[in-house]
């Protein structure tokens, strides 16, 4: 894309302003820009692509419904990521409740237990797909507060300032949380990357 063309590209803030003034095409452009970014963020957070797609749909519906609530003082990306993140966290809480009830509904003998796979050895050389699957699984195993900042920083490559606005915690806390999250992952994945 030429530099001149790029400069003509409307910013997210321009698009939402046009949409606030009734331009539905601007909303289509926002959807086009953000749908895959948000899907990846929510998918890495929830671990399920179908659920993630539902959350992204709901995010755009909220943007549509509450378009007047957006004010130009904040970056649009921060606003939309905050909506998606909150919906994803709500889904996670619902899932926990569902899990709790479904386990308590089962009789003692009906419960399924995860049996550790003794054959699995992370030190073995694994092909790309399996390696990716392991990394994905380990990200999932982080607590939501670490998982969220790791995804925003390492998958979405957002700045620490943006993450601070999205998660609504101070900048210093974001930096230390990202560092601690990465150290936790390092403990779990070091065998995988050393090979």
């Amino acid at each position: 894309m030429a530099a001149g063309e790029r400069s003509k590209r409307p910013t997210d803030e321009d698009l939402i302003e046009q949409f606030q003034n009734g331009d539905l095409y601007a909303f289509d452009l926002i959807v086009k820009r953000y749908k895959n970014q948000l899907l990846n963020f929510v998918y890495r957070f929830l671990g399920n692509v179908e659920e993630a797609e539902d959350i992204v749909q709901e995010t755009f519906l909220r943007v549509y419904r509450n378009r007047k609530a957006y004010q130009k003082v904040a970056k649009f990306s921060t606003w939309i990521y905050t909506i998606a993140g909150n919906l994803a966290k709500t889904e996670l809480r619902k899932r926990k409740r569902r899990k709790f009830f479904s386990i308590s509904d089962l009789g003692y003998d009906d419960k399924d237990y995860d049996i550790a796979d003794d054959e699995f050895n992370p030190e073995k050389t694994v092909d790309g797909n399996i390696k990716e699957e392991i990394i994905h699984k380990e990200i999932q195993s982080l607590s939501p507060k670490f998982r969220e900042v790791i995804i925003l920083r390492d998958v979405q490559e957002l700045s620490y300032e943006e993450i601070s606005n999205i998660v609504d915690i101070p900048l210093g806390t974001v930096k230390s949380r990202v560092n601690r999250g990465r150290l936790k992952l390092q403990e779990k994945l070091k065998h995988l990357v050393k090979t």
Partner: protein, 199 residues
């Protein structure tokens, strides 16, 4: 603090080159000497790179059409809601009024019933007796009952005093009332024992 521990606290920032300048030199020196921390930097960098290169997922083909349909439904609902807002309230007022009136009536009925339940019962035999000499409702008021040798005297709440008895006797003397009639005033009812109903 252990220099390795201290370094680990800033590991991410060191890799991302976001470490404050005054600390950068200190950590570089430590890193030159510490193999364990060098290892940490290497592993951490590889993990960050792997996470960054995780495959991207894409929305399904019908994502846009589903979203448009949902928005169309939502817009339809919005319009209906707006229309409802113009006539909905006035239309609902009679319904709310009727409901409120029914609640008030029901509350009154319950209160009346409760009052009746708390009043002491007087047997019907007394209410309907020919001696009672007044409004039947009066006889439902609390009574004092005094039993004499061969009569039962029912006296209203306020027992008749001696002076009032003598007044009555004087009134009876001046008219043709019998002695018993003079006693059967609205305040006082005398019944022969054999007419008392057991209850």
């Amino acid at each position: 603090m252990d220099p390795c521990k201290r370094f680990r606290k800033f590991l991410s920032l060191y890799i991302e080159k976001e470490i404050p300048k005054e600390k950068e030199e200190e950590f570089r020196k430590h890193l030159d000497e510490c193999i364990s921390c060098q290892d940490d930097v290497s592993v951490q960098s590889k993990i960050m790179d792997s996470i960054h290169h995780l495959h991207s997922v894409k929305t399904s083909e019908d994502f846009d059409s589903i979203l448009r349909t949902r928005i169309r439904i939502e817009s339809g609902l919005d319009r209906r809601r707006l229309r409802g807002a113009t006539w909905g309230w006035p239309a609902r007022i009679p319904v709310y009024g009727m409901s409120l009136a029914l609640i008030v009536i029901a509350a009154l009925m319950v209160t009346q019933q409760f009052k009746k339940m708390n009043q002491p019962e007087v047997p019907d035999a007394f209410i309907n007796t020919e001696w009672y000499g007044g409004n039947p409702e009066q006889n439902r008021n609390p009574l004092n009952i005094r039993e004499d040798d061969n009569t039962i005297v029912l006296i209203e709440n306020e027992p008749a005093s001696e002076s009032r008895d003598s007044e009555r006797k004087a009134r009876a003397d001046s008219t043709d009332m019998t002695d018993e009639d003079s006693l059967n005033t609205p305040n006082r009812l005398v019944m022969p024992v054999n007419q008392v109903v057991t209850y």
